[in-house]
């Protein structure tokens, strides 16, 4: 009885050690000829570009993906951090990495030439990779094209009472939009707008951008806010195809300016141990091939001028982005976030 217990325990331990050994071996693969990425973007969205890079250069891309905490990890790991690059969505989070002091400036002829100044940090601490527009999805059945809101401001109009769905107000995409409203109209007007929008909501903010379109399909609301690329992604998904079919995209303006856009981007880390490979990857991702892939596979807008947009993107309508500088949005993010809490947007 006792012997068998010990035998079992010993067998368990042995299995454990073997397993741990196998895991450790896998990790040992982090070294030269490679580039290490910390990513806030879901890996399946960027993996195709990384695979293309590896085919092209023979350099392997190692990834850690998490939704939060990677900047903290970089900060704590300090000069010994194995990470070379950090990938984020949302300008606010790119700016976080910069302000945390974990990024390094990079400047190469190609990067400077291909990426417009609006989409990169002055000293090259971060570079935009793609643009994404925050647009309105309107029900084909219940909202005529003439009635559809032409501006974000119109969303606060009482005629939409009980007809709008959005995700949580303090999600980064909503916060960035609110920050843009503050930049254009001042905090007071932005607050009134946010209160108006909240009072028009059909339901408590919940779910992601796709879930709002689903709610339109199900008759819970008539219009929603969402990033443009979800339209294409939903059309590609068997289950979600019907959701996307029930709406049409509208590119609203802020005031009389353009549509609010945000970026996804990348930054080199201060500690980057594989600098050359990291620069190679940065240049690859801002090259025509990768930019086109972003557009065709993820339905995001290229940041590099002249790269053709995917057919679907063109069919959705013309994007005229708001010209407000991105770092203004990043700077106003904290104010926007507090505003969202103040009006109790999520309650």
């Amino acid at each position: 009885m006792r012997k068998s217990t010990y035998a079992l325990a010993a067998a368990g331990l042995a299995a454990l050690v073997l397993g741990a050994g196998a895991v450790a071996q896998e990790q040992a693969a982090v070294n030269a000829g490679e580039v290490n990425v910390y990513s806030y973007r879901q890996p399946f969205l960027i993996q195709p570009m990384f695979d293309a890079f590896t085919r092209d250069t023979g350099v392997k891309v190692n990834v850690v993906f998490a939704k939060t905490g990677l900047v903290e990890r970089l900060k704590q790991e300090g000069r010994n951090s194995p990470a070379d690059l950090i990938f984020t969505v949302d300008i606010g989070r790119l700016n976080d990495a910069y302000e945390a002091g974990v990024t390094a400036p990079v400047e190469t002829a190609q990067l400077t030439a291909s990426i417009p100044t609006a989409f990169r940090q002055g000293e090259g601490h971060w570079y935009g990779l793609t643009q994404r527009a925050r647009i309105i999805y309107a029900s084909k059945e219940r909202v005529s094209r003439d009635d559809a809101p032409k501006s974000y401001e119109e969303l606060a109009d009482p005629k939409w009472a009980g007809r709008i769905c959005t995700r949580a107000g303090n999600h980064v995409y909503q916060v960035a939009l609110t920050a843009a409203m503050i930049a254009h109209h001042g905090e007071e007007k932005a607050e009134a707008w946010l209160r108006g929008l909240k009072s028009n909501l059909a339901r408590k903010p919940q779910g992601n951008d796709r879930a709002q379109v689903k709610a339109i399909n199900e008759g819970e609301c008539d219009i929603s806010l969402g990033n443009n690329y979800y339209f294409g992604l939903m059309l590609q998904n068997e289950e979600q195809f019907g959701w996307a079919q029930s709406v049409y995209p509208v590119f609203p303006k802020i005031g009389n300016k353009g549509t609010h856009v945000n970026i996804s981007g990348m930054a080199m880390t201060k500690a980057s141990p594989n600098r050359d490979n990291a620069v190679k990857l940065m240049e690859f991702l801002t090259g025509d091939l990768a930019q086109q892939m972003y557009s065709e596979q993820n339905f995001e807008y290229p940041v590099v001028a002249g790269v053709p947009q995917a057919g679907l993107l063109r069919s959705m309508g013309d994007l005229h982005p708001d010209t407000l500088a991105l770092d203004r949005i990043a700077a106003l993010r904290a104010d926007a976030f507090k505003l969202v809490d103040k009006v109790g947007y999520n309650d």
Binding site: V64, A66, R73, R93
Partner: protein, 578 residues
């Protein structure tokens, strides 16, 4: 019924040995508590202090929601857990033996997956509302009223049916350890079965029930997946909002500290509730009495009380996952899948082993030393209620500091860089799991150790055995069932752990949970259903082992009776025979 600490004993017999245990226990407690210290440090020195903003807007609302959810779940798990444990332990009805272990099955299903499945079923496009619309000819959601699953009520519903096994598991073990003679005395003195249950069995099992409820409530407190999905704005949601939306980790840590306040409150309440009421049986005779055979309506009622939680908490979610897993089988069944499974199993097994060892160490140190040590060992348990992502940062800080210090010394002395030795390795992951789930193991071990009469220790010690030997020869064999139970819960919880795994993991490293999450976070759970199902299946196996162990460890069957009634001198022979 007596309350005795062994502190007097440890100081009178072999002081040095007892002190070694206590010092060792303190050291372990300190190491485990280090991440919590790091979180406190983050909270006190944030890059931008948004505390005034939090205190005036977010905290009151989110705290209230958290409280409602915790109390709601507490009531839910208490009702389901104790009722089913009592029926299974003392009554005889069809399927009882099956229910005995099947009641534990919902433990194997991550709450966020259950939430996802029920949203699918209950929402507008789901089968339930679809059927209703067909029946009554309604068109849109404006034509009729239907309870919103994505709500506080929905969250309490889903989480109660997933978390009740904590209460069931510990309460059933407690009922099993109650000698039927105690219950029979109650019956012969004229109490009916209900009265016996309410006035004798429940009070005797109270420590176990309280621990179970406390665990379920802490799990509720730390949950992010379910409340996020159901748009219930609890404190964990606030943590992520501040962190993601403002990039303010300090603010997130501040909210996490508020959550720790909740836990301290919970633990204090538990202590007060238990104070002076630590029951030990004075009878050393254990025997099983025949279970009460239920008939007619009662039989059916008992059947339903046990079957409904299993159907809701396990059968339906697992069924839905199975359907998706079959549809997407070819895409999912590949080399990568096995790597995920191996990573999950290895990490979880290591975490279970380490956590149980530490739990024994702490619980025994507490038994030896009494109160002062107790307070410190509690701090080591607070990790359970910290949201995984915040805890991950708490783990990052001490590890990175240590690694960088070693590296700096190596550079100074030898001119070589050692790089990061522990950070970003599976070692950090296992450590995080242990800190996070130690409380689960500790609760079970301590509750069980507490039931061993101090006279046992005294007998062993007066016969010349030191504390270590007493632990090894007397306590561990007696609480074996609970150790297995503790290890199992840690294992299953580690399999499900997500946020800390995401942040701390090495490059290109996925567990089943992170793989599931990648898709589920985009409402594409179907594509990772096979991995989700594997988490569930991996959870079932220990559940079965656990249940067998519990049955065997029951006093009154096999070795149990004899062990307990024997004196120390002859124990060995019995074990060898058994």
């Amino acid at each position: 019924m007596s309350v005795t600490t062994l502190s007097s004993l440890s100081s009178s017999t072999r002081p040095s040995q007892g002190r070694v245990w206590i010092l060792g226990g303190l050291l372990v407690a300190l190491i485990v508590a280090a991440p919590l210290g790091a979180i406190a440090w983050l909270a006190l020195f944030p890059t931008e202090n948004i505390w005034p903003h939090l205190a005036s807007t977010v905290l009151p609302r989110h705290s209230w929601n958290t409280l409602v959810l915790m109390v709601g779940n507490g009531i839910g798990v208490f009702l389901i857990g104790t009722a089913s444990a009592w029926l299974v332990s003392t009554c005889e009805f069809p399927g009882r033996r099956l229910f005995e272990w099947a009641m534990l099955l919902p433990l194997a299903v991550p709450a966020y997956i259950v939430a996802f499945v029920y949203t699918d079923i209950m929402e507008f496009a789901g089968p339930v509302q679809g059927l209703l619309r067909d029946l009554f000819g309604w068109q849109t959601s404006r034509d009729y009223w239907f309870p919103e699953i994505r709500s506080m009520g929905g969250a309490i519903f889903v989480m109660s049916f997933v978390l009740y096994p904590y209460v069931y598991l510990l309460t059933r073990a407690a009922f099993h350890e109650q000698s039927s003679s105690v219950l029979e005395v109650s019956r012969t003195l004229g109490r009916g079965p209900w009265q016996t249950f309410l006035t004798v069995a429940l009070p005797l099992a109270r420590p176990a029930i309280v621990v179970g409820i406390a665990l379920a409530m802490m799990e509720t407190l730390a949950d992010f997946g379910t409340v996020d999905y159901f748009a219930v704005n609890t404190l964990t949601v606030a943590v992520f909002n501040v962190w993601l939306g403002m990039g303010n980790a300090g603010g997130a840590a501040q909210i996490a500290l508020v959550m720790l306040g909740f836990v301290v409150l919970l633990i204090t309440l538990e202590r007060i509730g238990r104070h002076g009421r630590q029951y030990h049986h004075t009878s050393s005779r254990y025997q099983t009495s025949p279970r009460v055979r239920l008939r007619g309506g009662r039989k059916i009622a008992a059947l339903l009380v046990c079957a409904i939680p299993i159907v809701i908490g396990f059968v339906i979610p697992a069924g839905v996952l199975l359907r998706h897993a079959i549809v997407f089988f070819d895409e999912s069944w590949n080399q990568a899948f096995f790597a995920f499974a191996r990573n999950s199993l290895t990490l979880s097994a290591a975490a279970a082993l380490v956590a149980v060892s530490i739990a024994v160490f702490l619980a025994y140190g507490r038994r030896l030393s009494g109160r002062g040590f107790g307070a410190l060992s509690r701090i080591a348990l607070l990790g359970y209620a910290v949201p995984g992502a915040v805890l991950a940062v708490g783990v990052l800080i001490p590890f990175a500091r240590l690694d960088n210090a070693i590296d700096a010394i190596a550079r100074d002395l030898f001119g070589v860089s050692t790089g990061l030795i522990l950070s970003g390795t599976i070692f950090a992951l296992v450590f995080a799991y242990v800190v996070r789930f130690l409380a689960v193991g500790f609760g079970a071990v301590e509750a069980s150790l507490g039931k061993i009469r101090p006279s046992m220790d005294m007998a062993a010690r007066s016969l010349g055995a030191g504390p270590g030997r007493t632990l090894w020869r007397i306590h561990l064999p007696l609480v074996r069932g609970s150790l297995i139970a503790a290890g199992t819960i840690v294992f299953v919880d580690s399999m499900k752990e997500l946020p800390a795994t995401l942040i701390l993991r090495p490059f290109n490293f996925d567990t089943l949970a992170t793989h599931v999450y990648q898709f589920a976070s985009d409402e594409l759970l179907e594509q990772s259903a096979l991995s989700a199902l594997t988490i569930v299946i991996a959870g079932i196996l220990p559940v079965i082992i656990l249940s067998r162990a519990l049955r065997q460890a029951r006093p009154g069957t096999r070795t149990g009776t004899r062990t307990r009634t024997l004196d120390i001198g002859t124990r060995k022979d019995v074990l060898d025979n058994g």
